[in-house]
Amino acid sequence: MDIVNQLQRQFIDHSTSLHREGIVDDQFTELQKLQDENSPDFVVEVVSLFFEDSEKLLNNMARALEQAQGVDFKQVDASVHQLKGSSSSIGAMRVKNACIAFRSFCEAQNREGCLRCLQKVTHEYSLLKNKLQSLFRLEQQILAAGGSIPVAK
């Protein structure tokens, strides 16, 4: 019981910090709310899909920006747009915000700026991934310990 309590507290702390640091926003809470008996792994599923998708997109961007000359900014922009859409959908606020900045550089066809933004987006993405993965781990631990996931505020 103690362990469950502790884990639950940890879980709440972690998820509060996610919100506080702006890594996720209310949209993520929205997702969590969507999870019920019918779709118990909904959040993990969506987020995994997001990870998969994002990594592909990030790779695409990196590859497109590797060219010293003649970068296809349209393609990069399309990828950024995709990433922005999906990150906004799962509530990955910081990734989304980084994408917004990224797009302005795409429009300006500024390769330097794009590369910087890509770095930033990648950074935010890995931060998000880390944090979410530990959140999910906590979740599993709680479930394994026989507790229930505390409801996010």
Binding site: Q27, L34, A78, S89
Partner: protein
């Protein structure tokens, strides 16, 4: 003899060696020193070059003296001499070696000769007396005769003769003698050769010049070279003595004669700037004894403006004293000019760069600010949607059965929610105005109505014993054109502010036309007139005794907030429901002859409140500023209200000012320009004036310019005189008496007082109801008021309707989007249905062409109980997943396609009840897809889609297509940018509404509730 010969030879050799070695040495040593080329080569070279004139002016005597007395001069001479000596010794050494060589050879040959002679002697001794030998020797002797005698004074042959005489001849010996003779001959020949060489050497020696000549030649050559090199160089060099008098000067472009320069100093020769400086500089070098360089710009009559780089070095005597200077100057005018130009350019570039960075920074900051503001706006927007969900749900909750405690809690919750919403709206407004996004929407409106409604609203939420009064001057036009929403917002804000800070007395609004204020012409001038007039009004108001009554029902609080917003929202639509008044049409309309003129209307909002200390006035309109922290605690609020008012007023081209006296009250004044239209055709603006059938009634109502709300009942005592001339028909005491009862009633039934049967009171109640109901009731015969003179009838209706009014008021309150776009009006509709499912949608939709069919559709669909088919068009997998799940939660399954083309295909094949359409998609975006679908609905064919390149699939279920006539499918855009431009675009392309991304459960729910039965 031998010695003699050797000496002779040495002399010979000497000459020979000298002639070959001497020139070579000169070449090397002299070449190194003076960089002189081979004499023969350069002689030709220099012959081609014409060395012009004699630019050098030399004081020869001084030069000699110099060479004698200066270290440099003497050392140079000494060097030359030493050099010559060295060369000579070297030559002597080489000659000696040669002599040694030759003498050795000579000795050898001498030895050989002796040997031969010995042999001969021996033979002579052995074979002496041989006569034949004489003849041979005679022959040999002949040969000897040819040899020059000078060298052969040796008496060898005589000896031989002697030998010959002694020996007798033998053949063998003869032969031998012959052999020896030959060897001797060879030796003789060698000697001969050497002799010739000697002769030659002697001749050469004679030709050889003396060392002095040699040296002067070298010097001359060097001199020539110097001239050659310097002939066009822009250099001047010279020597000046201790007194800086010129002793020597070289100047290729002499502008002065020798006698003008030599023996004179710089200052004696030139005049102008720079001369003194150079003189001083030379003196300095002379004093310091150290060489130095300096750049001096001369500005002389002689050669104009020129810059010289001057090198000055001191000249020392052997004793080490300075006896003069050598100086060298080079004209670098052009270079200096270039350099200065470069410096200037560089400076300019630096300045340019600095400016550029500054500019970039400013741009950056501006961009940042803009982004921050936009961010704020977006965030506020995003916060607002979920919050409105919370508040509206709470409101719905309030309609359910709750005990009193729960209701109280709920009310606190609602009022807090309202506060937050208000705050967010304020922030949004402010950031909109600041970022220039705020767009004013000009519509026709009636100032009297606005004043009345604002006061009504304020009265409805009044929790204090205050008199609210409005006074619209007769000269104010009945209808003016302006952004009524914003004006109402300003008015509401000012009035609620006034109420907040007024504990007793009155709060009022005065409207009257003023001439064009000075700031309109000269923007800098401030308006200060009229403040005294206001002050007097305030004072008068204060004199009136105000009755106080305690009203502490917490029920009212929540109610006020809701009502406030609700009626604000529906202000323009409430006109049909307002009571009909008798009155005369004001003449103002006739006065305006032009179709559109501008009228300036001044609005004073005065109160008898706590007033504002003078020192707080300057910061009053600043954001987040309140008079003091103490005030903030006591009265709450964000301090945004006045800032917004000011910005809005200024945005509309007006001025907001304040005058105040502590403890007496404040007056906020805003003057705004309005357009006045003469045309009576109101149909162009159905939004604002939806029901214009009864012009007479409206005009009657519109002319009522004086309103008063006494602090009687729940603040809804409304007295309106038929015309502006008569005032205060209702005596105060009636309100007094009844209010008590009302209060009791309010305790029991939580909101409006209902059945007290007193006509006068019902009048008040009815008025309040009518305001609240005005919109909803307009098209609903059941609930509309007929303002008949029969008061019993009215009260009865009012009684019946009371509860419903309550609910309606709340429903309205649930939609508090200030913007009041068509979107929200539909929201209201939806919510009403949630709370009162028994009521059909009775509110007329705003005259939005798209909404009319929606209602029809809704009824159709509600008839058939089939499950609605929903299509989601979205390319982002994650978004699809999330939306799908949300839909599942809402009990819907959806079809998903990934782009516009697929969407068109899907619509071609199936009939959908709702399409959720992403705007930004690959292949075909949502806007185009919507256009194509709309085109199909209008024309009944897919030609537009075909034209756009979308192939029509084989009609798999063509029967369905045939049987169902194209009906308008609600298409909801899902857009990432919630800015108004994007929304406009959506509407322009035929979409019915839009949901901003990320899609939330609440948004989706609202949307479905609105568009699906």
């Amino acid at each position: 003899m031998v010695c003699e010969m050797e000496d002779d030879q040495i002399e010979d050799m000497d000459v020979e060696v000298l002639s070959s070695m001497w020139p070579e040495d000169i070449e090397h040593e002299a070449g190194k020193q003076f960089k002189v080329e081979k004499p023969r080569g350069d002689q030709d070279m220099l012959e081609e070059v014409t060395i012009v004139g004699e630019p050098t002016i030399v004081d020869f005597q001084h030069l000699i003296e110099l060479t004698n007395y200066t270290d440099k001069g003497s050392s140079q001479l000494a060097y030359l001499v030493k050099h010559w000596e060295y060369k000579q010794t070297n030559a002597v050494r080489l000659l000696r070696e040669e002599i040694d060589n030759l003498s050795r050879q000579r000795q050898e040959s001498e030895l050989k000769k002796l040997e031969i002679l010995e042999e001969h002697r021996f033979e002579e001794e052995r074979y002496g007396g041989d006569k034949r030998s004489i003849s041979i020797l005679d022959g040999i002797y002949d040969i000897w005769q040819d040899v020059p005698r000078r060298k052969n004074k040796i008496v060898v042959p005589s000896k031989r003769v002697e030998i010959d005489a002694e020996y007798d001849t033998v053949i063998y010996w003869k032969q031998r003698a012959m052999h020896l003779e030959k060897m001797l001959e060879a030796s003789m020949q060698r000697e001969q050769l050497l002799k010739e060489k000697l002769q030659e050497s002697i001749k050469n020696l004679e030709k050889q010049s003396s060392p002095v000549e040699e040296l002067s030649q070298i010097l001359k050559r060097a001199d020539n070279f110097l001239h050659f090199v310097l002939q066009t160089a822009p250099v001047v060099f010279g020597h000046q003595d201790k007194e800086l008098r010129y002793r020597f000067i070289y100047n290729h472009f002499p502008s002065l004669q020798e006698e003008d320069i030599l023996g004179k100093t710089d200052v004696e020769i030139f005049t102008g700037s720079g001369v003194k400086e150079s003189q001083d500089f030379k003196k300095e070098v002379l004093d310091k004894g150290l060489p130095a360089k300096r750049e001096i710009t001369f500005e002389t009559e002689l050669f104009g403006s020129k810059t010289f780089l001057i090198y000055v070095e001191p000249v020392f005597s052997k004793a080490g004293e300075t006896i003069g200077i050598n100086y060298m100057g080079m004209d670098i005018t052009d270079q200096v000019r270039k350099r200065e130009k470069m410096i200037k350019l560089r400076e300019e570039i630096a300045v340019q760069k600095a400016k550029e960075t500054e500019l970039n920074r400013t741009i950056h900051i501006t961009e940042e600010t803009m982004r921050a503001k936009q961010m704020l706006a977006t965030m506020s927007h995003e916060i607002r949607s979920p919050l409105s969900g919370v508040v509206s749900m709470a409101e719905i909750l309030a309609t359910t059965k709750l005990d009193r405690e729960q209701k109280q809690l709920l009310n606190v919750m609602l009022s807090s929610g309202d506060l937050v919403l208000q705050l967010i709206n304020d922030i949004l407004d402010l950031s909109k105005v600041e970022s220039g996004v705020m767009k004013l929407e000009y519509t026709k409106f009636r100032p009297r109505e606005v004043v009345k409604h604002v006061l009504q609203t304020a009265a409805a939420s009044l929790q204090k014993i205050l008199t609210l009064e409005g006074n619209v001057a007769d000269d104010v036009p009945i209808e003016v054109i302006g952004d009524v929403l914003r004006i109402r917002q300003i008015l509401t804000n000012l009035i609620s502010n006034a109420i907040k800070f007024t504990h007793e007395g009155r709060v009022g609004v005065k409207l009257y036309v003023v001439p064009e204020p000075p700031f309109a012409k000269e923007t800098s001038q401030r308006v200060s007139d009229g403040s005294t007039a206001n002050q007097s009004t305030t004072n008068v108001a204060k004199e009136e005794t105000c009755t106080s009554m305690s009203q502490t029902s917490s029920d009212q609080r929540g109610y006020h907030g809701k009502k406030h917003e609700g009626s604000c929202q529906n202000h323009s639509q409430s006109e049909p429901g307002t009571p009909v008044r008798n009155g005369t049409i004001d003449a103002t309309e006739e006065q305006e002859e032009l179709p559109e003129t501008t009228v300036w209307i001044r609005c004073d909002v005065y109160d008898t409140g706590i007033g504002i200390p003078e020192n707080a006035l300057p910061t009053l309109f600043k954001k987040y500023m309140q008079v003091s922290a103490d005030h903030a605690r006591k009265y709450g609020g964000t301090g945004l209200g006045l800032a917004i008012c000011k910005q809005l007023v200024e945005l509309m081209g007006g001025r907001l000012t304040v005058s105040s006296r502590v403890h007496c009250g404040s007056t906020f004044t805003f003057i705004l320009p309005y357009k006045v239209s003469l045309s009576c055709d109101h149909s162009d603006d159905p939004d604002v004036l939806p029901d214009m059938d009864d012009h007479g009634a409206i005009n009657d109502d519109a002319t009522a310019g004086v309103f008063q709300f006494q602090p009687r009942t729940l603040g809804s005592l409304f007295c309106s005189t038929g015309t502006s001339r008569t005032q205060k028909l209702l005596p105060h005491n009636i309100g007094y008496a009844s209010s008590y009862k009302l209060n009791v009633l309010s305790e029991t039934c939580y909101s409006f007082p209902t059945s007290n049967g007193r006509t006068k009171e019902m009048d008040l109640v009815e008025d309040a109801c009518s305001v609240a109901e005005a919109v909803e009731i307009s098209s609903d015969p059941e609930s509309s008021f007929s303002h008949s003179p029969d008061r019993e009838n009215r009260s009865a209706i009012c009684r019946d309707k009371h509860h419903q009014n309550d609910v309606d008021a709340e429903n309205k309150a649930s939609t508090r989007d200030v913007s009041g776009c068509s979107d929200t009006s539909r929201d209201m509709d939806v919510k009403m249905k949630i709370s009162e499912p028994q009521l059909p949608p009775k509110r007329q939709e705003r005259s939005d062409s798209s909404s009319q069919p929606t209602i029809n559709r809704r009824q159709e669909v509600s008839d058939s109980v089939s499950k609605p088919k929903i299509l989601l068009v979205e390319d982002n997998k994650i978004n699809v997943m999330v939306t799908k799940n949300m839909m599942k939660q809402l009990g819907h399954t959806i079809d998903v396609v990934n782009n516009g083309v697929e969407a068109v295909h899907a619509v071609q094949c199936h009939s959908y009840d709702l399409v959720l359409m992403d705007v930004c998609m690959p292949v075909m975006d949502g806007l185009q897809a919507t256009r194509l679908i709309r085109s199909f609905e209008e024309t009944g064919n897919w030609d537009a889609a075909m034209n756009a390149g979308v192939e029509q699939p084989l009609p798999s279920d063509s029967s369905q297509q045939d049987c169902t006539p194209p009906k308008r499918i609600p298409i909801i855009a899902m857009t990432a940018n919630a800015l108004s431009e994007s929304a406009d675009e959506c509407f322009a392309n035929g979409m019915d509404s839009f949901v901003s991304k990320p899609v939330t459960f609440q948004k989706l729910k609202e949307c479905l509730e609105q568009y699906l039965p």
